[in-house]
Each structure stands twice: as structure tokens, then as C-alpha cells.
């Protein structure tokens, strides 16, 4: 926790966030009914941005799963008799 964590405070519930982006996402997730137009636009943008980063995360996760799967397949082939 740093000092700047108090600088992004939600005006509805008072929770504070370390970055502006997290506050934008928080507003969209927790208080969707109380967003001003520009806040809504900011949320949509942050959401779409995260969506693309999630896509690359999923690819990497899938890679790890495939590695795990084949890694263990080979281990079983070699060591289980």
C-alpha cells in the first residue's frame, strides 16, 4: 500500500484504489447505475482494453495447459511401467 492509493477514491462507496484505471473499472462493476456519460465511456474503454489483454492471457494459459498435459503424458510414458 502506498500513499497514492488514497488518491483515487470512489465517490459512491468511498473505497480507494491505487490507480485511476482500477477506480474506473470499480465504478463500472459496482455502481453501473450511477455513472455519468464520460465515466461510462471510460469504463467501456478500460473494459475493452482489458478484454484484449485477457485474450493474450488466455493464449498463454492455454500454452501452459498444453505443456502440462504433454509433459505429464511423456513422464507417464517414461516412468510408469
Amino acid at each position: 500500500m502506498t500513499d497514492e492509493s488514497t488518491s483515487h477514491r470512489c465517490r459512491v462507496c468511498g473505497r480507494s484504489f491505487p490507480t485511476e484505471r482500477l477506480l474506473v473499472l470499480h465504478r463500472g462493476v459496482r455502481h453501473p447505475g450511477e455513472l455519468a456519460d464520460e465515466e461510462l465511456a471510460a469504463y467501456r474503454e478500460a473494459y475493452a482494453d482489458e478484454q484484449s489483454r485477457l485474450r493474450s492471457f488466455r493464449l498463454r494459459a492455454l500454452g501452459v495447459l498444453v505443456l502440462l498435459y504433454f509433459g505429464f503424458l511423456f513422464l507417464f510414458a517414461l516412468f510408469a511401467s
Binding site: 500500500m1 491505487p18 462493476v29 485477457l54 492471457f57 495447459l65 498435459y69 505429464f72 507417464f76 510408469a80
Partner: protein, 461 residues
């Protein structure tokens, strides 16, 4: 029961878990189960590693679910089973609890001295420790209705003092550790008279506590047995919510805070204590554990000190690992939440692990002694004429391994759901889980390793 068969069955279960979600996998899993007919022997390290990997893989699979609405829908799904009050049933259960307590004390002192036919030992360990706990975790917690001490304390005026809130569940954590210690190191498990004396002493203490602090506060916070069963009950699908018996998906009550109270540090200690007590009793009853204790005693330490050191040291290590995970989580993810606050919210997922682990430890014990328990329940005052101990097929052992894995997979989902409850950013919610999942992989590996070892009675006790 063959350990080899155990591990073999496990390999199939674990591989099919790893395979979830990939169509490619099915061929290989089928191939392996074909091979298994010619007694595939899996080395122990590979079996442990596969178990750990299965948990890691299920966490990765869970992280693919990034749709908040789906996570919330799974969490919130509920159906009302019984809408009204069931006072007559409660009274009947309370009566059954009181009768059982009477039988335990009476038959403990007057019954046969052989533990496997004595009603006191069978009721406490097979019926209570194994049976009621399983019902609490798999169906719903019956203890508030059964609890004989609550029945007594509710019948008299109580609540002279208010329960100090700052103690939270600490007295229960200490009590659970103390009870497990007594169970492991004293003759309570095989001398019915000692057990009856212990139960009498416990009854006096807990009834007194309930009368002084009021039964509701006492049994929710301080009474070890009630807090223990309530914790397992939070994993179960059935529970009373707002006066209605409600069905939820297993483990989903772990995502919320503890009842109406704020989660507390003692709840984290409680969750770790439940996992640790099973690990400890698992460890000391294996030949490897026995050898380790013998080696330490050989150096010149008194046996009880070795056990105490192992018991408390291991608990501290498990607890430290969890707090450490919370600290790593807060340092990796930008958040205004403190590490203890994270540990308190993620801690309850460990109850699901404890439930799976409890099944693995006690299912075979419970089923094999259940005929004797049934005898004792139907004629409590005479020892069973023909005590029957069932010999179990090998797949019951595999069921134990499957329940360890399922408990962990459930804990992974609870962690995922909790992270989505806490964090506005979905990537943040995924990243914050890694340290907790790493600790879970460690716990799984440890428990699978213990389950695979040959057992022996603990030395020097």
C-alpha cells in the same frame, strides 16, 4: 489394501482431471486406462506431481471463466427446500443428542474395554468424528440441532457475561488443537473409560461456558466441536438461511464472510488448523512419520516433546505459508487491501480442502465400522453380539484420493469466485489467486504423499 492399486486409480482420475476441456485428451486417458489393466506402476513422485499439476491446471481452467455474470450466477444459485419451521424434528434431534451423550458416558465406564465394540468409542469416533463431520460437509451441519450441551444450556437462564468480541474464534482454534492432541497422545481412543472421563470433563466445561456467555455466542465462537462442525457445514449444499432450508452449490457459502460476522484472523487459523490436524494425524500414522519420530527420540528428546514440536511447528508452518501467500498476493497486485484482509477473505476456501481430506481419512474407517455403529445405535446397552468389520474393496481408497482432488478443485473455484467478488479488474482477480493456488498445490502434494504411504501405529504412545 494395495497402495499400487491406489496410485494407479489415482493416475487415471488425475489425468482425466487434467484432460477436462481438451478434446484431444480423451484418447490418451482411454489409452492409459487400457494400459492400467496390466498393473501400471506409477512412481510415488510422479503420482504426487500429477496431483499438484491437476490442481494447478484446474486453476488455469478456472481463470478462463472471466464472465462476472457467470461467476455470480454460480455463487448465487439457490433453491428453497423447506420453507417453514421444523420444531418437532429439532426437539427429536436434541433428544437423540442427549441420549447419545448419556450412552457415551455410561457405556464408557461400564461397557467392554475393547474399543471396537464399545458403544462410547464407536459413537464418539465413528459416529461423531467421522460420521457427523461427513454429514456436515456433504449434506448440511446437523450439530446445532443434535448438540446435547446446547439443549441443556438453552433450558436454563444464561448470558451472565457478554462474549468478548476480540477473542473471536481463537478459543475454538485452541480447543480444536487441544482435542486433536488428546486424541493422538492419550488413551482416549482405545480406553473407553478415559474417553468417558474426557467427555464428562468437556461437558462440564462447555455447558458452563454456554451458561455464562449465552449458548448462541458460545457455540458460534468458543466451543471447539461446534465451531469445527460449523466450518465443515459451510462447504455443504444445505443450510438454514433466513429461516429457510436452502440448497446452494457446494462450497459457495465459503465465498461470503463468516455468517454475519466480519471474517477474522482466527478464521484463517481455524481453516489452517482443520487442514493441519488431518495432515498431522495422517503423518504420524505412516511408517515414514513413525521413523522420523523415532529418529528424533534417538537423539535424546522425550517422545511427547517431539510430537508437540511437530504438532505446533507444523501448524505454524502451514499458517505461515498462508500468510506468506497473502503477502505475496498484495505485493504482486496493485490493491489498497492489506495482506491480512486478503488472507481473511481467501482463508475459508481451505474448508473445502479440509472436507475432501477428511473424507479421504475417515471414509474407509467409517464404512468398515458402520455395522458395529448400527448395532450400537439399535441396542446401546449391550455390546454387539457379532461385531462385524467390513473389508473394503480397493476402490474405496481411490475414492479417498478422488475426494482430496475434488476438495482442492472446489477450493480453487471458491478462490476464483472470491477474487471476482473483491477485485474490479479481471486480470487482477486472476493474478491475485496465484500465490493461494501455489499454497494449495503444496497442501495437495503433501496430503497425496501421506495417503500413499504405508500406515503403522505411532510409536511411543
Amino acid at each position: 489394501m494395495s497402495r499400487r492399486l491406489h496410485r494407479l486409480a489415482f493416475a487415471v482420475v488425475a489425468l482425466s482431471l487434467l484432460a477436462t476441456g481438451t478434446a484431444l485428451a480423451s484418447n490418451a486417458a482411454v489409452g492409459l486406462s487400457d494400459a492400467s489393466r496390466d498393473a501400471l506402476d506409477v512412481p510415488r513422485w510422479l503420482y504426487v506431481a500429477t496431483g499438484g499439476a491437476a490442481i494447478g491446471a484446474s486453476a488455469l481452467l478456472a481463470s478462463f471463466v472471466t464472465d462476472r455474470r457467470l461467476v455470480y450466477a454460480v455463487h448465487d444459485w439457490r433453491r428453497t427446500v423447506v420453507g417453514g419451521a421444523v420444531a418437532p424434528l429439532r426437539a427429536l434431534l436434541a433428544l437423540a443428542g442427549l441420549l447419545a451423550l448419556g450412552v457415551v458416558v455410561l457405556r464408557g465406564f461400564t461397557g467392554p474395554a475393547i474399543p471396537t465394540v464399545n458403544a462410547a468409542v464407536l459413537l464418539v469416533f465413528v459416529g461423531g468424528r467421522a460420521g457427523v463431520t461427513m454429514v456436515a460437509a456433504l449434506v448440511g451441519n446437523p450439530w446445532p440441532a443434535l448438540n446435547p450441551w446446547r439443549a441443556v444450556a438453552s433450558a436454563v437462564p444464561s448470558g451472565v457475561r457478554t462474549y468478548p468480541d476480540r477473542l473471536a474464534r481463537w478459543p475454538a482454534v485452541a480447543g480444536i488443537l487441544a482435542l486433536v492432541w488428546l486424541e493422538t497422545t492419550t488413551s482416549a481412543t482405545d480406553r473407553p473409560a478415559s474417553l468417558a472421563a474426557l467427555v464428562l470433563g468437556y461437558s462440564v466445561l462447555t455447558t458452563l461456558g454456554a451458561v455464562v456467555f449465552g449458548p448462541d455466542d458460545w457455540f458460534a465462537n468458543a466451543d471447539p466441536v461446534s465451531v469445527f462442525l460449523r466450518a465443515y457445514g459451510r462447504v455443504a449444499p444445505l443450510a438454514w438461511e433466513d429461516g429457510r432450508l436452502t440448497l446452494r452449490l457446494p462450497g459457495m457459502r465459503l465465498v461470503e464472510a463468516y455468517g454475519t460476522d466480519e471474517p477474522h484472523d482466527s478464521d484463517v487459523a481455524l481453516a489452517v488448523a482443520l487442514v493441519w490436524e488431518l495432515t498431522f494425524s495422517g503423518f504420524v500414522t505412516t511408517t515414514v512419520g513413525g521413523d522420523a519420530v523415532r529418529a528424533a527420540v534417538g537423539v535424546g528428546l522425550p517422545p511427547l516433546a517431539v510430537y508437540a514440536l511437530l504438532f505446533l511447528g507444523g501448524f505454524a508452518a502451514f499458517l505461515g505459508a498462508y500468510w506468506g501467500a497473502a503477502r505475496v498476493a498484495t505485493s504482486r497486485v496493485p490493491t489498497a487491501r492489506s495482506a491480512p484482509a486478503l488472507a481473511r477473505r481467501f482463508g475459508p476456501s481451505l474448508f473445502a480442502i479440509a472436507a475432501g481430506y477428511h473424507l479421504a481419512h475417515y471414509l474407509a474407517f467409517f464404512v468398515s465400522l458402520s455395522p458395529s455403529l448400527a448395532d450400537v445405535l439399535t441396542s446401546p446397552l449391550s455390546p454387539p453380539a457379532n461385531p462385524l468389520v467390513l473389508t473394503l474393496p480397493a476402490w474405496v481408497g481411490a475414492l479417498g484420493i478422488a475426494s482430496i482432488l475434488l476438495g482442492h478443485v472446489l477450493a480453487v473455484w471458491v478462490t476464483h469466485s472470491t477474487a471476482y467478488e473483491l477485485f474490479p479488474s479481471r486480470l487482477q482477480a486472476i493474478r491475485v489467486q496465484y500465490p493461494f493456488v501455489a499454497v494449495m498445490v503444496g497442501y495437495t502434494a503433501a496430503s497425496l504423499w501421506l495417503v500413499s504411504l504405508p500406515t503403522a501405529p505411532p510409536p511411543f504412545l
